[in-house]
């Protein structure tokens, strides 16, 4: 059985800067995979390549055994990739439920059906009470959840989460972690970019560490946090020597 998502030898160059070099990763069905690494490691670049913001300079991206390298973002959503944005991009003039309806309309054109689906997703994400509030009035943690809700309404096979747990209070982060777990229970595969290791490590089945645009290591979270290469990437060589 092939992996749900695969990148094969992906490169991304911006002028002289190499943001991703020869990145090959795969994400299996039903997994929660964390994509971590220090600042500037190329996490967001890789994330955007998978979401279809731009095609990679070189290499291919596969979803469900299908080459989607040249497929634009809109079409990738149709194929089953849902995403959130690191800097939230709510539809500010629309109500919370209307935001989610936009997502639901990918799978149906019947408004009643889309609205029902959207409300269901809002209940799932704990935003139902805020359904009729304009998105501009949500607090930051609610906006993060709205990003997730909108993406879930598109009924994705693969959900890409871009730092949804960063910058939240510990309690909010915990709620977020539980939400991600429940998302996986519904059969959705999750690939999440995260900066804060201590939040993601207990959550993910597997972590892929990027450093300087390359895959540094990948494996179980428990192994990753002890890996000297990871420690040195995050903290510098001095700390790694001691361990």
């Amino acid at each position: 059985m092939t992996a749900l998502l695969e990148t094969r030898g992906v490169w991304q160059r911006f002028g002289g800067l190499v943001a991703n070099s020869d990145v090959s990763i795969s994400v299996g069905r039903g997994e929660i995979v964390g994509l971590i690494g220090p600042n500037g490691a190329g996490k967001s670049t890789l994330f955007n390549l998978i979401a279809g913001v731009r095609p990679p300079t070189q290499g291919t991206i596969w979803l469900d055994g299908e080459d989607i390298t040249a497929t634009p973002a809109t079409e990738r959503c149709r194929l089953g990739i849902g995403r959130t944005f690191q800097v939230v991009k709510s539809f500010e003039t629309m109500t919370v439920i209307d935001n989610v309806i936009v997502g639901a309309l990918v799978r149906t054109t019947v408004m009643r059906e889309a609205r029902r689906k959207a409300f269901e997703v809002l209940e799932f994400t704990g935003l139902a009470a805020r359904a009729d509030v304009p998105a501009s009035e949500l607090i930051p943690s609610e906006k993060r959840r709205l990003e997730v809700a909108r993406a879930l309404a598109t009924e994705p096979k693969l959900l890409l989460l871009d730092e949804v747990l960063t910058g939240l209070t510990p309690l909010e982060a915990q709620t977020g972690v539980e939400l991600v777990r429940r998302v996986r229970e519904t059969g959705v595969t999750v690939l999440m970019v995260e900066h804060v290791m201590e939040i993601v490590m207990p959550l993910v089945d597997r972590a892929i560490v990027l450093d300087l645009g390359k895959v540094l290591v990948e494996g179980k979270p428990t192994d990753i946090v002890r890996d000297p290469k990871v420690i040195s990437a995050y903290l510098g060589d001095r700390h790694a020597v001691g361990s």
Binding site: A51, V53, P72, A73, T74, C77, R78, G82, R83, F85, K89, S90, F91, E92, T93, M94, I97, D98, I101, V102, G103, L105, V106, T109, M111, R112, A114, R115, R116, F119, A131, D132, R150, A151, A153, T154
Partner: protein, 328 residues
């Protein structure tokens, strides 16, 4: 729960509209003054035009300041087809609508790749080019324009000299149709796509919204309806030239009511037109024939006042009030 409140609000809007139409239809029974009737016709026409503009500019967020082009195409198509080929205005109206929609699509193809202000600038330039072309196009009457020969009153030829009432009822029907189309679109996939594109096109794309197609759809519908208004106007004044149907002033007059009333809202254009058009017409008549510039000063001041104090239009006053109540 959810579904009910939403459906209820939509039904309430529909009922309000029905009542307004019924009331408006009765007004001419009491208002016999031709001058006032004239203002009512213009108010309804601009309400409808602005409602059409609002589809592209308000809902989809693509600010066009060149809608005079579609207005003029509608007027010219009807006038030319009637005077040169004897085609009845009713058909000319529809043909003008389709030509305008086709032009909107052809122009949208390159211009919708432009972002923000550049799109607005492009629409001004294109409309201005069309204006100059018509000013020099001999076959279409050039600067002299086209005189639509007026004979006996006739619904078939859509021309009336004895009374303004038929025009009034057509303008009312036009405003009602434009409103209904908007009402229907607002709760359709298109309506949601447009608002998503306006608010954040990158997020919209990630949710499967085909941004380019949404813009094209909005432009075509908007241009079609605007051309219907132009065709009506040609019949109403029975003489057109580039200055009177394609000048920049029309682009402003078409967009302003929506901006004033509430951009991207269902009731904004009607509300805005009901205030703006009578005010400008009265200002013009008070100051007399030479007061042409004054109405432009009025628009200018209004735009500044609105953008400074209430960027979401006058309707925003009501929703702000509602919000405060909700907080309490």
């Amino acid at each position: 729960m959810q579904d009910i409140t939403h459906a209820q609000r939509r039904r309430r809007d529909l009922i309000i509209a029905a009542v307004l139409i019924a009331v408006a239809a009765c007004v001419p029974m009491f208002v016999k003054d031709v001058y006032v009737q004239n203002i009512m016709v213009l108010t309804l026409m601009y309400a409808a035009l602005s409602q059409s503009w609002n589809i592209l500019g308000g809902y989809c967020g693509q600010i066009s300041l060149g809608h005079a082009l579609y207005f003029g195409i509608g007027a010219y198509t009807t006038a030319i087809l009637f005077t040169k080929f004897g085609i009845l205005p009713w058909f000319g109206m529809l043909i003008g609508g389709f030509i305008s929609a086709a032009i909107a699509l052809a122009l949208g193809y390159p211009t919708f790749r432009l972002g923000g202000h550049y799109f607005a600038i492009a629409t001004i330039v294109i409309a201005e080019i069309a204006f100059l072309l018509f000013l020099n196009w001999d076959w279409a009457g050039a600067a002299l324009g086209i005189d639509i020969p007026v004979r006996a009153d006739s619904w078939l030829k859509f021309q009336f000299t004895r009374s303004k009432l038929p025009y009034f009822y057509f303008a009312l029907a036009f405003a009602a149709v434009a409103w209904l189309v908007t009402w229907w679109l607002e709760n359709s996939k298109w309506g949601y796509w447009w608002r998503a594109v306006k608010d954040n096109s990158e997020a919209a794309e990630s949710l499967g919204v085909v941004v380019f197609k949404s813009k094209m759809g909005a432009a075509a519908i908007s241009a079609f309806l605007t051309a219907i208004g132009g065709a009506f106007y040609a019949q109403f004044v029975s003489y057109i030239d580039p200055e009177s149907v394609m000048s920049f002033q029309f682009s402003l007059l078409i967009s302003l009511p929506a901006v004033l009333g509430g951009i991207g809202t269902l009731w904004g254009p009607l509300f805005g037109a009901a205030i703006l058009i009578p005010v400008t017409e009265l200002t013009r008549s008070f100051i007399g024939g030479s007061g042409r510039g004054v109405d432009l000063i009025v628009y200018g001041s209004l735009i500044m006042a609105i953008s400074l104090m209430r960027p979401d239009g006058l309707l925003g006053l009501f929703s702000r009030k509602r919000k405060k109540e909700a907080v309490r």
